[in-house]
């Protein structure tokens, strides 16, 4: 920051140094001593705001910074302070606007341009992003980070040729380390793909830059993928053979290996038997690789080729090894192919009646596989029959009861399902997976307290109990199931609490990427950057979030339609009350909620914490009643809907209809029309 002159200037410089050293309280004290004598010192006010921001007093921080701007709109320092404050509050758009104003005053300030550029990364403003990095490179062409960021920003803005040119330049840049060079060289094939280059050009580029790739196996993988993409199956096969020998579990290599083999056989006009023989050799070479057996079977089923031998081989192997998931792994194939399902069933029954008759272990797995098979083909009555046979064979294996519990749930026999799953949990009390299944089943029948109880063993104590701990650990499935169950039971306050907790989790996830823009660009981790960018784009369209948005939208729309809705199951009774009765009802409700709150507070205060544990956070709105009292429920609903790409989302018609109703009520006709067009 700029040096000043005079006594106040010396104090100001000291305050700035204290701020930069992270001593925010001291810096604030020094700043306030300046403001005592010069209360309209704009930059001191801005620095006060910055310190307040770092001390988490965002509201006052913003007010002070805005006041500073009001006093001196030509101060770069004041605009920068405002920008940082907005940025720390995660209001990135406002932060960027403030940076732009600061840059107008100091157009060659590298720090400002740099900070603004990272906001542009986060906000996906790729055109301005390229300009920012171009300016920085022009100011300091030897700065490696600037050049890396410019390269990445060319890719993000779709200028792939420029990106390729910068990548190849960077590879010869003296300051670039070998690891970063290797990562850049691995990134180049993506550019060749984007540019839709012919094989010769792609291959030439690969030959020029593959020497920078440190790991030989990555180089083989790149070359194999290149050959495969251009259907050079002979060369691809040799390389994938090498890769599979080292990475036997990589299904992408296996699949391409099989595909290459198949294509070569077709191209040579050889009979299918050659392919089957080759696949048998593969099984012999890797006899214990379950994934290879599955992949071969999948390949043959999808290609409509003869798979009987391979199916039987897989089933016999699985039974001999006692692999519970054998049928589960074929689930999507079975559901798409009834003939396959029949073949599996016929084989298992034949084995049961003939080969395995006197072998109890083999019988057990036959019964279990038959139960799984009929479960996946929706024949729950048969599935139940087979699992009971398995249980009578071995009554102490939890997995059998787990499947039985699921079957009974499908049949709507809830009390039996609960009884079975409880017994299952008792067989292995330390297994959280079994407890989670039991909890889910409790949620399906709206027994929330029992669900919490079944998971309590795996949770730390918190004010508010199990749900609060699971919200803290971002247990999405729990919050959704609990929220939807509470919604069904008309406990709207608590349901909203869960949906808001989910919203905050998703919001936090999208904001954590902000901290990694710098790291990824500096270290030439372009692939990781792109993955992170893609992930944050699709988070809000995930089924988990869409269920959250739907639940919250339903409640807020009803709240908007009727103020009595917040009373839940008592709504009808309250509606028919006179004013005095209603007031008394509200008073009684508040009293009982306060009592619950105090009881919980009293409970939690009795618990002794370890030295390194933070004190319990007391939530003033434990039951979500404040959420129900919102003055603008439609605005609240829109907060949930805003991040969702409703105009391009597939399915979720009900959510779209509700959203269109809300947007129409708010006068957002264009948005409404876009959603309706996508219905």
């Amino acid at each position: 920051m700029k040096k000043s002159t005079g006594k106040e200037a010396a104090l100001f410089d000291r305050a700035v140094n204290q701020f930069e050293d992270g001593h925010f309280s001291r810096s604030l004290k020094t700043t306030l001593s300046i403001l005592k004598k010069k209360p309209k010192h704009a930059e001191a006010i801005a620095l006060e705001g910055l310190n307040l921001c770092k001390l988490n007093n965002y509201h006052d921080a913003l007010l002070r910074c805005q006041l500073a701007i009001g006093l001196n709109a030509k101060s770069r320092f004041c605009w920068q302070a405002l920008a940082i404050t907005y940025r720390d509050r995660k209001d990135y758009h406002s932060s960027l606007n403030a940076y732009k104003n600061a840059i107008r005053i100091s157009p060659k300030n590298e720090g400002l341009l740099y900070d603004a550029a990272y906001l542009q990364f986060h906000l996906r403003l790729y055109g301005p992003l390229v300009q920012s990095w171009q300016t920085l490179v022009n100011l300091d062409s030897e700065n490696l980070e600037y050049r890396l960021c410019l390269t990445l920003s060319y890719y993000l803005s779709g200028s792939y040729e420029r990106c390729l040119s910068y990548c190849t330049d960077l590879l010869t840049f003296p300051k670039l380390g070998s690891n970063a060079s290797s990562r850049l060289a691995c990134f180049i094939p993506n550019l060749a793909l984007k540019l839709d280059l012919h094989f010769e050009d792609s291959f030439r580029i690969f030959q020029e830059y593959s020497s920078f790739i440190l790991n030989d196996w990555l180089r083989y993988e790149q070359l194999a993928n290149l050959y495969f993409r251009f259907q050079k199956y002979d060369e691809a096969l040799h390389l994938y053979g090498k890769l599979i020998a080292k990475y036997k579990d990589r299904n992408d290599f296996l699949w391409r290996y099989l595909k290459s083999l198949h294509e070569l056989i077709i191209s040579k006009g050889l009979p299918k038997q050659v392919l089957y023989n080759k696949f048998r050799c593969l099984l012999d070479l890797l006899p214990n690789a379950m994934n290879i057996k599955i992949i071969i079977l999948e390949f043959l089923v999808i290609a409509n080729l003869d798979y009987d031998f391979f199916l039987q081989h897989l089933l016999i192997y699985s039974k001999n090894k006692g692999i519970p998931s054998a049928i589960l792994l074929l689930k999507s194939l079975i559901r798409g192919n009834l003939l396959l399902a029949h073949k599996i069933k016929d084989f298992l029954i034949f084995e049961l009646q003939n080969t395995n008759r006197d072998n109890p272990t083999a019988c057990l797995w036959n019964f279990y596989y038959l139960s799984c098979l009929t479960y996946f083909t929706f024949d729950y009555a048969s599935s139940l029959h087979w699992i009971d046979q398995a249980i009578s064979n071995l009554p102490t294996l939890p997995d059998l009861y787990l499947l039985k519990g699921k079957i009974l749930s499908r049949l709507g026999e809830w009390s039996e399902a609960i009884r079975t799953l409880t017994f299952c949990c008792d067989l292995d009390r330390g297994d959280r997976a079994l407890a989670s299944r039991l909890a889910k089943t409790y949620f399906y029948i709206d027994e929330n307290q029992l669900a919490y109880q079944s998971l309590s063993k795996f949770c730390k104590d918190r004010f508010g109990g199990v749900p609060i701990y699971l919200a803290e650990t971002e247990c999405i499935w729990f919050l959704i199931e609990d929220g939807e169950s509470l919604l069904r039971q008309q406990s709207y306050g608590l349901a909203l609490k869960r949906f808001h907790q989910l919203y905050n989790i998703f919001k936090e996830w999208t904001s954590i990427s902000f901290h990694y823009h710098t790291y990824c660009a500096e270290n030439a981790q372009f692939m990781q950057y792109l993955e992170m960018d893609e992930w944050t784009k699709t988070l809000w369209d995930s089924p988990a979030y869409l269920r959250t948005a739907l639940g919250a939208t339903v409640i807020y729309l009803k709240l908007h339609e009727s103020p009595y809705f917040k009373y839940g199951e008592n709504a009808t009774a309250v509606y028919s009350m006179n004013e005095n009765e209603r007031l008394q009802f509200d008073k009684d409700q508040n009293q009982s909620m306060t009592k619950l709150h105090l009881q919980e507070e009293s409970r939690i205060k009795k618990i002794k914490l370890d030295e390194d544990e933070d004190p319990f956070v007391i939530d003033p709105d434990l039951l979500g009643m404040e959420l129900l009292e919102t003055k603008d429920p439609l605005q609240e609903a829109m907060k949930f809907l805003y991040p969702v790409r409703l105009d391009s989302l597939k399915g979720w018609g009900y959510l779209k209809v509700l959203a269109s109703v809300i947007y129409k009520s708010k006068g957002l006709h264009l948005k409404t029309q876009n959603i309706l067009d996508n219905l």
């Binding site: 020998a245 990475y247 959280r432 997976a433 247990c475 954590i512 790291y519």
Partner: protein, 175 residues
């Protein structure tokens, strides 16, 4: 099942697997920190539909006290329905290999509950880890942990086996 390096899009699935199976849980930012800081060290196992059914979350020790670069396994878990497939071992082997080949690790370490016999069998007997010591009350519920250690490096025999297998796989090509 596919076992491959974890991508950023896998992190939510890894967290779900962790929350479903283990009492030691982490916020997503911790998974992202691993994935971005040490790409290629964490692996996932996916079912044919692409759902995460197992994972290993690993890192390199940032400031090793002994000055020797080494890896550390933060968390490992496989969904109950997908056990008995050797996924845990295979996830560990892949991560271990990457620690050596990408980051030059000389050894790897992890912690395991004293009462977790299945995990102890995997690490000690199957993967040849040694118990270096006991960390008292390591876990939040007060249970002690074994601190385990394994020297790294791919044995020459495995390299020879891979070469032989590679030659046989390549020879399946039609000429």
């Amino acid at each position: 099942m596919d076992i491959r390096p974890a991508r950023v899009e896998d992190l939510v699935g890894m967290q779900h697997c962790n929350l479903n199976n283990l009492p030691e849980n982490y916020q997503l930012k911790y998974y992202l920190y691993h994935a971005i800081s040490w790409p290629m060290l964490s692996y996932v196992a996916t079912n044919p539909k692409g759902r995460i059914v197992g994972y290993v979350l690993a890192k390199m020790e940032e400031e090793p006290k002994d000055g020797i670069p080494h890896g550390h396994v933060t968390s490992l878990s496989v969904m109950r329905s997908y056990r008995q497939l050797g996924l845990a071992k295979r996830l560990m082997v892949q991560s271990q290999r990457a620690m050596v080949e990408v980051y030059g690790a000389k050894y790897m370490s992890l912690h395991v509950r004293k009462s977790n016999r299945a995990a102890l069998h995997l690490y000690r007997d199957s993967l040849t880890f040694d118990v270096q010591g006991i960390e008292s009350k390591y876990y939040a519920d007060g249970e002690d942990a074994y601190a385990m250690h394994k020297d790294l490096g791919i044995p020459p025999a495995e390299n020879d086996q891979n070469i032989e297998l590679s030659n046989k796989l390549q020879s399946l090509a039609v000429h």
